[in-house]
């Protein structure tokens, strides 16, 4: 187990290196860079060249990569990059990526946290109910609902909420008024109004997955011999479900929750843009479209890091929870 974790941990830097290198190469292959885009339609070749030079975009492939990484001198002759904790700056806005991340990370984190809470609330209790009363109308309702949740694309639902919420109910999220999401410490109500719908939209699909897995996993556990024994001992249903079945049934559910958190990262890219939330996802999307190289590189690296880390935690957690599983 320990060697397994160690090996996985050692692989992380390698994967990060590959991820960043691929991102860097990608944006070098495609024609058109942030220089042209910032320069605009009324651009001259001279202006593009000058802008590229100013940003250091005319430097060699490895020079640029190295200086971003922090193993090679940058335009100012200093060595300062990701390894030194400096993510560089956006060419487009000239703002430092570190500062942007500081501003935007809380937005994305809160969105994801709320989405996770909502998906647990909408996933686990209905899943349990459905499993202990299979075949009943309640079970049917829950199952049909879960299929619907998983089938409506999140961006479509988001558009419906934002468009029809506004035109039919005169409602639009409070962040439209100030341009930023109010922190929860400042005004919890407004904060919730801002995050509730994007989080809901984001959570539906996950809730459905969690609900289904909870149901099937619990159904399976309930068939085990030890549950039969419990029944035969005349224990009450509540005690059987809560004390005996649920604990074991939750192991695969925990795993899937972990994996879904990874999925949340991707989902946030689209949902943040739909709800005009200035989080990490929106930032990444805008930067990709604007070919803002350093921002994309840095954000992708960060996203990938979190994703890989979550996967590792899930795997390790799974092994820890279910002693039957042992990794080589």
């Amino acid at each position: 187990m320990r060697t397994y974790i160690l090996r996985r941990l050692l692989l992380i830097p390698l994967i990060m290196l590959l991820v960043s290198f691929m991102t860097h190469s990608t944006f070098r292959i495609i024609p058109g860079s942030v220089a042209e885009i910032k320069c605009g339609l009324q651009c001259t070749p001279q202006l593009i060249a000058d802008t590229k030079h100013e940003y250091g975009l005319d430097r060699g492939f490895f020079e640029q990569y190295g200086s971003w990484l922090g193993v090679y001198t940058n335009e100012d002759g200093k060595v300062s990059g990701v390894l030194q904790g400096n993510f560089g700056k956006s060419f487009l806005t000239t703002l430092s990526v570190d500062g942007e991340i500081q501003d935007r990370l809380p937005v994305t984190l809160e969105l994801m946290a709320l989405a996770l809470i909502l998906s647990l609330l909408m996933g686990i209790p209905p899943g349990i109910i459905s499993a202990i009363r299979p075949g009943t109308p309640l079970d049917w309702v829950v199952r049909v609902a879960s299929v619907l949740w998983i089938s409506v694309p999140s961006f479509y639902l988001g558009i419906l909420i934002i468009t029809f919420g506004a035109s039919w109910f005169g409602w639009s999220p409070p962040n439209f008024e100030t341009g930023r999401a109010v922190p929860i410490t400042e005004d919890p109500i407004k904060n919730l109004q801002t995050y509730f719908f994007p989080a809901l939209v984001l959570s539906l699909g996950i809730a459905a997955v969690i609900m289904r897995l909870t149901r099937s996993s619990l159904l399976e556990v309930m068939r085990n011999d030890y549950i039969r024994t419990a029944w035969s001992k005349g224990l009450r249903e509540r005690s059987i479900v809560w004390r005996h079945a649920l604990k074991n049934a939750m192991i695969p559910v925990l795993t899937i929750i972990g994996l879904q958190v990874g999925g949340l990262i991707g989902g946030s890219v689209i949902i943040e843009s739909v709800f005009a939330l200035n989080g990490m996802g929106n930032y990444l999307l805008v930067s990709i479209i604007a070919r803002d190289l350093l921002v994309v590189q840095s954000l992708v690296l960060l996203f990938a890091f979190v994703y890989v880390l979550i996967n590792l935690i899930v795997d390790v957690g799974y092994a820890w929870l279910d002693p039957r599983i042992r990794y080589g």
């Binding site: 292959i29 299979p134 619907l148 694309p153 961006f155 159904l219 549950i227 999307l285």
Partner: protein, 351 residues
């Protein structure tokens, strides 16, 4: 239930003919009504995709076929948009775009993915390590971001990929030679099956396919790892069969079923992916009657906000129906393959 299965098996062994196929199917349908509904949805969409030309009332691209921004009516069941385009026709035709992109992506993705997966699993060692680290890092991208990055590379008007697809040939600079790999314009740039900018749409499909390939390769490799320990592989090798032959004749047939299953899982995902990136405005060319593009189009959204809800609502509904169809059928199959999880039975489980 288990008893019934055992009985069937017994009958099968004795060679006594079972109930006719249609009756068995009917019985299956009776036990999985939601699955049947799902199949109907998929069938409906496939039907629309195939026979769009006959169902559509107008050319989905044609402007000014009716009044501007008018609500649903008999002549325009889903209303019209700001340019007087018929939303019904666009929604119906969207099925074709979705299916073309979805199917091409799956075809390309699962083929490449299984090839990589088989090679990786079969050869093991350094090849496997390199390929797996590459796949690890591709999987580390959030899916949407991976797609956006791939599209940034291949989607450009003059990207090498598009150039290659226009004229499939390889330039060998050092020999000064050009090796043609196929006739120019195999994938036409113009309108094919009514799909405008066909090449652009296919390139989007290939980009999605690439993402599918990554997922496929990982799963197939896992299967191959256990397969290759089998005796018959050893035997084939001992008989002097080449690696390529073993992979093609002995390993591939054994993972084929898995690949088919993967394809059905990935198909709705691919359709959703196309919709999502077109929604973000970086997918199919603007004006293409794609569901995602119609939902995300800024003018459509403004129109919907102004009260012309139909321009956004119906394309999204169609998209949801496809995904719902696949999910329902997927559920039904899971139930059939693992009857213990089925809803029926009644009473307390295990009793």
């Amino acid at each position: 239930m288990a008893k019934a299965t055992a009985l069937e098996l017994e009958l099968l062994e004795k060679g006594i003919p079972r109930a006719p196929l249609w009756r068995r199917l009917l019985r299956l349908a009776g036990s999985q009504p939601l699955g049947v509904v799902g199949l109907c949805f998929i069938g409906l969409i496939l039907f629309c995709a195939a026979f769009a030309d006959y169902i559509m009332l107008h050319n989905p691209q044609e402007i000014a076929v009716g009044p501007v921004s008018e609500g649903p009516s008999w002549s325009h069941p889903f209303g019209t948009d700001r340019l007087g385009t018929d939303t019904f026709s666009r929604t119906i035709f969207g099925a074709r775009i979705a299916m073309i992109v979805g199917m091409s992506a799956i075809l390309f993705g699962t083929t490449t993915g299984s090839a990589i997966g088989i090679a990786s699993g079969y050869f093991g060692g350094i090849v496997d390590s390199i390929l797996q680290r590459l796949i690890d890092s591709l999987l580390a991208y959030p899916a949407v971001v991976l797609l956006l990055a791939i599209i940034a590379v291949v989607g450009d008007e003059d990207s090498p990929v598009k150039e290659f697809l226009r004229e499939p040939e390889v330039h060998l600079g050092f020999l000064g030679a050009t090796i043609p790999l196929g006739p120019a314009g195999v994938i036409p740039e113009g309108t094919v099956w009514g799909v405008p900018n066909f090449l652009d749409v296919i390139v989007i499909a290939l980009a999605i396919g690439l993402a599918v390939a990554v997922g496929t390769a990982r799963v197939v490799r896992g299967a191959v790892l256990s397969l290759k320990e089998n005796m018959y592989i050893e035997a084939a090798r001992a008989m002097g069969a080449s690696d390529f032959r073993i992979m093609l004749r002995h390993i591939f047939p054994n993972v084929a079923a898995l690949v088919v299953v993967l394809s059905t899982i990935f198909l709705p995902i691919a359709i959703l992916a196309e919709a999502a990136i077109s929604f973000l405005g970086v997918g199919v060319p603007a004006g293409t009657p794609s569901w995602g593009a119609d939902i995300g189009d800024p003018s459509n959204r403004a129109e919907a906000f102004d009260g012309s809800w139909w321009v956004v609502f119906f394309p999204g509904l169609a998209l949801s129906i496809v995904v719902l169809g696949f999910n329902l059928v997927g559920d039904a199959f899971r139930d059939i393959s693992d009857p213990r999880l089925r809803g029926g039975g009644g009473g307390t489980p295990g009793m």
